[in-house]
Subunit: 133 residues, 2 copies
């Protein structure tokens, strides 16, 4: 793993740590400010715009039904010099969700700019080994 | 809409046109070659790697059950100089899916590098107006 990959995965970890801590302010601090934001929570329509996305996190984290999420198999994929994504599985009890988290490098840090998570079906095909390009 | 946004949305349109035409070779031509690829079909685990992703499109398009998809409300969001995403709704009959399509600019063209689509629930909140940052 490159040092950059480690930093990107650490940013992804910090995002889920903030969620686990029910800390919307921490998510706000980890979220990009210079690039247009979006977010697709499981089952939700796409939210576009930083203010709307941040309000959604505050609402979700204020709810007693906010789930506990375990992350499995995070993989960092470097898309461009200042853009990377992490794909991973979010495990909520017996439910598995496929997640895409997009990061931009700004002000010396990797910050999340888009989150998209949705359910995986039990009969989905097995995941193949990683094979870049 | 900027000229760049129009080009990005045209690349998104070309991707869905290729799907509608059941043309896996056209999807291959539209897919990035210089950046690591990924794809999360609805309900599937994350596929990583260009060869694996292309095989998935060939398999899906060879199936008689490949759906007809109508695209609604595509929005281009410029993440970095050479990276953009399009968020949109995929309508398949009465089912709506939220889609994220990530594009990189390479060899003079916007090419798709990641696709993630998953179901939206009927009781999902209404989508707010676009509000960038």
């Amino acid at each position: 793993m490159s040092g950059d990959d480690a930093q990107i995965l650490a940013a992804n970890r910090a995002f889920y740590d903030a969620f686990a801590a029910r800390d919307a302010e921490a998510i706000d601090a980890l979220w990009a400010r210079g690039a247009p934001s979006a977010c697709t929570h499981p089952g939700w329509p796409v939210l576009v715009g930083r203010a709307v996305v941040m309000q959604s996190w505050r609402d979700i984290l204020a709810s007693e039904s906010a789930p506990r999420i375990a992350i499995e198999r995070p993989r960092a994929l470097r898309i461009a010099t200042d853009v990377a994504m992490v794909v991973c599985v979010e495990r909520i009890g017996r439910t598995a969700l496929a997640a895409t988290n997009l990061f931009v490098h700004e002000e010396g840090a990797w910050r999340i700019v888009h989150h998209h998570a949705g359910p995986m079906q039990a009969d989905a095909p097995e995941e193949p080994d990683r094979q870049l390009n």
